[in-house]
């Protein structure tokens, strides 16, 4: 068997593929965060909790109401996004004039409350959500056994990421959104409802988190703390990519997934810190992030 640095190439290939899968989760979560930060200037610490809610909506839908995976994939983002809209209208909208710190504290508090409620209801051990029948099983790629579902995660995540990027950078709605962040007064004067745009944006960012949650439900145990374990890494991804940069968050998410995958091959103990080491280096060299505008 051929080897690179003493590691069999088959193992390396499979680890890269696993890294790509994890990178897809990072990409879709950091994209939501980046949109919310870019347009609202809110650091959404409740993102992990909203991701968890997406997974729980899928689980509750399946076990209590018999709603299948495909419907959940649409329904959970809508429901959780609607919760996000309510939060934005009732709470977050009061903070736009204040320092970033207030938004951060509020969303962090919300995350703790939401996680606490779910923990109280469902315990901590987690719940199992089976892979939908159409995506069960796997294919043998020669160097590894690839579960079909994981392949689907990559495809779905990339499609949604690209769609979002296209909407913001290439459509009229996206142009309004971008203009609204640059200069809300003038855009408002031109007859565009900026507060509505902002509400929609927050709802959309939250919906992205919930979408990732549904994607994650069959892969990980559905657990009230599943988001808080992930969100810190995702924040690091956003910082590395550049706060608010749409393309930056997607590329960085996938790239860091790959790097993390490689770390697991060469030095597994370091796999939980590698992202933060990179973050420190990037902040020293390019404080605005790889894709951010200084």
């Amino acid at each position: 068997m051929s080897e690179i640095f003493g590691i069999p190439t088959a193992l390396l290939g499979s680890q890269l593929l696993v890294g790509l899968i994890n990178g897809s989760f990072y990409a879709i979560l950091s994209l939501g965060l980046a949109i919310i930060f870019g347009l609202l200037n809110i650091i959404n610490f409740a993102h992990g909790a909203q991701y968890m809610m997406g997974a729980f909506v899928a689980w509750i839908g399946l076990t209590k109401f018999g709603i299948n995976y495909w419907v959940s994939l649409l329904l959970a983002p809508i429901l959780v996004g609607a919760v996000g809209v309510v939060l934005e209208r009732t709470l977050l909208s009061r903070l736009y004039k204040l320092d970033h710190l207030y938004g951060l504290l509020l969303t962090f508090g919300l995350a703790l409350i939401i996680e606490g409620v779910f923990r109280d209801q469902y315990g901590i051990s987690g719940l199992s959500y089976d892979v939908p029948d159409a995506l069960a099983g796997g294919v043998n790629l020669g160097f590894m056994f690839m579960p079909i579902y994981r392949g689907w995660v990559v495809v779905a995540a990339l499609a949604v990421c690209f769609g979002t990027w296209f909407m913001i950078e290439r459509t009229k709605l996206g142009a309004y959104l971008r203009a609204g962040t640059e200069n809300p007064q003038i855009v408002q004067a031109l007859g565009i409802n900026v507060p509505l745009l902002i509400t929609f944006t927050y709802g959309y960012g939250v919906a992205l988190a919930a979408f990732a949650g549904v994607l994650a439900a069959p892969v990980f145990q559905v657990n009230p703390l599943m988001g808080s374990n992930l969100i810190i890494v995702v924040f690091a991804v956003v910082v590395i990519g550049g706060m608010g940069s749409i393309l930056g968050s997607i590329v960085t998410g996938i790239g860091l997934g790959l790097i993390e995958g490689l770390t697991k091959v060469f030095y597994p103990e370091g796999s939980s810190v590698v992202v933060f080491v990179i973050m420190v280096i990037v902040l020293l060299v390019r404080p605005a992030g790889l894709f951010g505008k200084a």
Binding site: V18, I124, S125, G138, F145, P147, V219, F220, Q221
Partner: protein, 404 residues
């Protein structure tokens, strides 16, 4: 000074001394039990509020049956699996709130921190939750009881059974902290001693969520058995993802520390056929069923071995306080070590001089979905491991309290 005044003073002094005398028996006539546990984190299902409930049940049962002449109070707190929070809380309890014993103490780092505080303050630490053997070895002291299980007993039960049944080559997936490393080391020793071979191991960060990279390494090793030296959600995710990547059933998994709550959360489909070692199974006999059903009525979950052990240890402690007629640490510890434990949890259990409570352990196999007849019908008891074989023999002990 008038005579009357003198008499009053003398009487007051006499009364004061009398009550001081009474206090030397049981301080404030109250025995206060602190439950220091994980109420919100990874281990909150296997201990947590269930351990608090078990403590309350033990207190209520004790009062109803033994009618003690002293009052019993309980306080509880969340240590968040952090040693610093736990030792601060324990200090506060012992110094200011008159707590006589800190109990449960899941998570090794917490246990090691609190047992030092207990020693310093001359109070008792009753450990039903933590797993690592240093508690009664290198780090042992004379105010600690390690009650329910430990990594030696787990390795000795599960790794031995699996190796003897033909699982000769092993690869370990290990949580990268004291507990995981201790479990891996002890299991490796058992595997080798029984003619097996350890091909390698990989250490994953704690807590993790994606184990596929590590599992692929285990797969590439070609080992027959992948030993999971982790716990809680980490074990659950490892099992789930091993099935997803087609690793099981070609290679088999051995869960070195699994609780019934883990099996419940995963379901029987991915866990069927797995061997595990436990100190308690609710459906083992009439006595265990009767107690567990009372527990279930309140908690809506069957008890884990930690929760059952918590009840048993608190009850045993209260019996010792009553028999000794004092809450003095030295006297109560002596009485606890002298008295055998006989209840639904343990038969002829006893606490050794190193603080290890030894009792029978059980090797169980997880049932197939088709074999499970009713809710929580998860295990078949394959073997009873007698107390003297289940735990590390005193001859191998590194505890300075053990006289050789």
């Amino acid at each position: 000074m008038s005579n009357k005044k003198l008499t009053t003073l003398a009487c007051t002094a006499a009364f004061a001394m009398m009550s001081a005398g009474a206090q030397a028996q049981i301080s404030g006539n109250v025995v206060k039990i602190g439950v220091l546990t994980d109420l919100s984190g990874t281990y909150s299902d296997l201990s947590g509020s269930g351990a608090v409930l078990a403590t309350q049940m033990a207190i209520d049962d004790f009062i109803a049956k033994e009618k003690p002449g002293f009052k019993i109070e309980m306080v509880s707190a969340d240590h968040q699996n952090k040693a610093d929070i736990a030792s601060t809380k324990a200090r506060e309890w012992f110094d200011r709130e008159g707590v006589d014993t800190a109990t449960e103490l899941v998570t090794t780092s917490v246990a090691l921190a609190v047992m030092k505080v207990a020693k310093e303050k001359d109070k008792i630490a009753l450990m039903s939750g933590p797993a690592s053997t240093p508690i009664t070895n290198e780090e042992c002291n004379d105010v600690t009881v390690h009650y329910t299980y430990d990594t030696y007993a787990l390795a000795n039960g599960t790794a031995k059974a699996v190796t003897q049944q033909g699982g000769k080559t092993w690869f370990f997936l290990t949580a990268d902290y004291a507990f995981g490393q201790s479990l891996e080391a002890q299991s490796s020793a058992v595997v080798t001693a029984n003619g097996g071979k350890v091909l390698g191991s990989v250490r994953h960060p704690f807590p993790g969520s994606d184990f596929s990279s590590f599992l692929l390494k285990a797969q590439a090793s070609g080992a027959q058995v992948i030993g999971l030296a982790n716990a809680g959600a980490d074990t659950a995710n490892s099992i789930k993802q091993a099935a997803e990547f087609g690793i099981t059933p070609k290679q088999s998994l051995a869960g070195l520390l699994m609780f019934i709550t883990d099996v419940h959360s995963l379901g029987l489909k991915p866990t069927q056929g797995m061997y595990l070692t436990t100190g308690f199974y609710w459906d083992r006999n009439e006595e265990t069923r009767a107690w567990s059903k009372r527990f279930f009525a309140k908690q809506k979950k069957m008890p884990t071995m930690v929760q059952a052990g918590q009840y048993s240890s608190v009850y045993h402690y209260l019996l010792a306080v009553k028999a000794a007629g004092t809450d003095d640490t030295k006297k109560v510890m002596a009485m606890m070590k002298k008295t055998p434990i006989n209840d639904f949890f343990a038969k002829n259990g006893r606490i050794r001089e190193d603080g290890r409570m030894i009792h029978d352990m059980y090797l169980v196999q997880v049932k197939k979905p088709s074999e499970s007849q009713y809710p929580w019908d998860y295990y078949t008891v394959k073997a009873t491991i007698p107390a003297d074989e289940a735990f590390q023999p005193l001859s191998q002990s590194k505890c300075p309290l053990v006289k050789k």
